[in-house]
Amino acid sequence: MGSLSARLLVSVSVLMLLFFGATVVVLDTAFRTAGEQARQDILDGHLMQLLAAANPNAEGALSFPPDLHEDRFNTIGSGLYGELRDDANTPVWRSRSALGLEIPTGDFPTLGNHQFLRESLDDGTPLLTLSMAVQWEFPNGELKPYVFKVAESLDAFNAQVAEFRRQLVGWFAAIALIMLLSISILMRGLLRPLRQIETEIGEIEEGRRVSLSERFPTELSGVARNMNLLIDNERARSDRYRHTLDNLAHSLKTPLAGMRALIKDITAERQLRGRFDEQIDRMDEIVRYQLRKPAASAADNLVLGPVPVAKEVERLVAGLRKVYHDKRPTIESEITPGVKFRGDTGDFLELAGNLLDNACKWCAGRVKIRITPSGDPQSMANGMVLTVEDDGPGIPEEAADVLLQRGTRLDESTPGHGIGLAIVKDIARSYGGKLTIARSALLGGAAITVSIPPISEGSRA
């Protein structure tokens, strides 16, 4: 069950079912019990009436007047019946209402005992019966046992109970539904802070916000605070890392430069000087390669906002025009508006800078850079496809594979060519993308493409 709201609703429903169910059962039972008690009391009253109405007759037996006080005894099929049995347990009198009906007889109850029973007529009508055995003292002093019995049809009572139950269940169901509805509405309001956190994190990813606002209820404020700490730590880590690298670069390379300058003073054999120079070159290359590793990776998505691609390319092209002043290459850029690179600005400049620099170096006069989104341009997650082509000699297939390996140079006379592409490949890979070398259909020279995929759920490589 993925949704908090759904979970809450289901739990509340189950709880309500249990509680309301129990309440309904309790109320129903109470009503029925009270009802039954009442009916018993009433039956008792009727029995007393019968007792009062019985009179010894001339023959020395009990008899009743033709009409009893309680009208229901007199009406046929009224639902209230009376019976008198003698000591042989034979019915000697039945109320007029019992005409045509078979009232079940039962055993001779214990003297003086109110015996309430549930019995039924032969047609199935449920009855509540009360039987009592008495010793009747006749005027002549004789004692004869008799059983007085009254029976009442429970149809009406059962209908009442059923109606009550129906009403009860109906009303409680309505209340339950209203409660669920109210809870759902309440929940939207209660869960708003969660949606707010989601929105704010989205803004952080887009670079429109620096940290979570921390205006959250107690339960979430801990999360927000920790998230902010995480973001700060990540930024600090990135900065520290870069800072360390810069310091390392400076401290290693300046002595190397000094060494190179000093080598010139060695007037001994040129060969020895050349070999020293070579070693220094190698150290330099290793240092350069290691230190130009990507500053960021896919995991830093949360911390780094999108790089303003068009603006950075413009600066890069302006710089390259200065550097290649004499060659004066035409550098054309075609950048889809809204294309985003989510990562470190330095890494982006490495990608575009190395490729453009190589292109300018090798071209005959024309260079083109094209950047398009790879994925839905509207989505925050879209990736980028960057292609740089030139009208130079191009790169033959065999050489392309060699070039993509670390540290190999295609042309020794133009130093740094191989490293540039290897670095671009490393950076592309750290963002989950890849590098391809092909021939430019447009300009005839090399066309080098870096494609960075869009961010998917759960980050890239």
Binding site: D246, A249, H250, L252, K253, T254, L256, A257, G258, M259, R260, A261, L262, K264, D265, D277, I280, D284, R288, L291, R292, E312, R315, L316, A318, G319, K322, V323, H325, D326, T345, G346, L349, E350, A352, G353, N354, D357
Partner: protein, 227 residues
């Protein structure tokens, strides 16, 4: 040509200055950003070589300040940071080219040459104006394809004048730019050198490559011939 080198690493700076001086340039040195900024703004120089990784005042700030104050001389950046981010930052701030440490001295020398002639408006390192051709990379001068023997100082003067062909260069500018600090400055010496140059380049006095403008200075008068 007077160059300014701002670099905090002493070994590197002194070696660089020495090698540039050997190449015929007059070199000013600054060991930190503050001094370097002062020189960059106050001294008459033709080109500045600035290390980006200076303590206290950053190289980028010096470049921006110099450009803001209207200094148009070319600026070459030295940087240990190899990343494009830093190169682009430097170039956007106003530099014209960059060299990454550690470097071969020849690279610096080549770029300095290129920047100097670019600032003079020359597209190649071979400056030709009619029959007079000066090859900056070989430091050779020919007139009608005949090589002319010049002393190093004479070469410096004609190179400076040709680089700024068409511009009037005052005697004091020549003195400022071409003399090293410990050289005795006497403007009359310039006159003597100009005279000698004229004799070597233009023995028949027909070409008149160097024009004297009284009270103002000298000018290389021949038209640039470049495709």
């Amino acid at each position: 040509m007077r160059l300014l080198v701002i670099e905090d690493d002493d070994t590197l700076r002194e070696a660089l200055a020495e090698q540039l001086a050997e190449g015929g340039y007059a070199v000013e040195q600054a060991a930190d950003g503050r001094e370097g900024l002062y020189f960059a703004l106050e001294y008459p120089i033709d080109l500045a070589i600035i290390d980006l990784g200076l303590p206290e005042v950053s190289g980028l700030d010096i470049i921006r300040e110099a450009r803001e104050q209207g200094k148009t001389y070319p600026i070459l950046i030295l940087t240990a940071r190899d990343r494009w981010q830093d190169k682009v930052d430097g170039l956007s701030a106003g530099a014209d080219d960059y060299v990454v440490k550690p470097f071969h001295f020849e690279e610096v020398s080549a770029r300095v040459n290129a920047l100097l002639r670019r600032s003079g408006g020359w597209a190649s390192s071979v400056l030709s104006a009619g029959p007079v051709v000066l090859d900056m990379s070989r430091q050779e001068l020919t007139v009608d394809d005949a090589a002319i023997e010049l002393t190093s100082f004479e070469y410096k003067i004609i190179e400076y004048l040709m680089l700024k062909a068409g511009q009037v260069i005052s005697k004091s500018e020549l003195t400022d730019r071409l003399y090293d600090q410990d050289f005795e400055r006497d403007s009359n010496v310039i006159e003597v050198f100009i005279g000698r140059l004229r004799k070597k380049l233009d023995p028949e006095n027909s070409l008149k490559p160097i024009e004297t403008l009284r009270g103002r200075g000298y000018r290389f008068a021949l038209e640039r011939s470049e495709g």
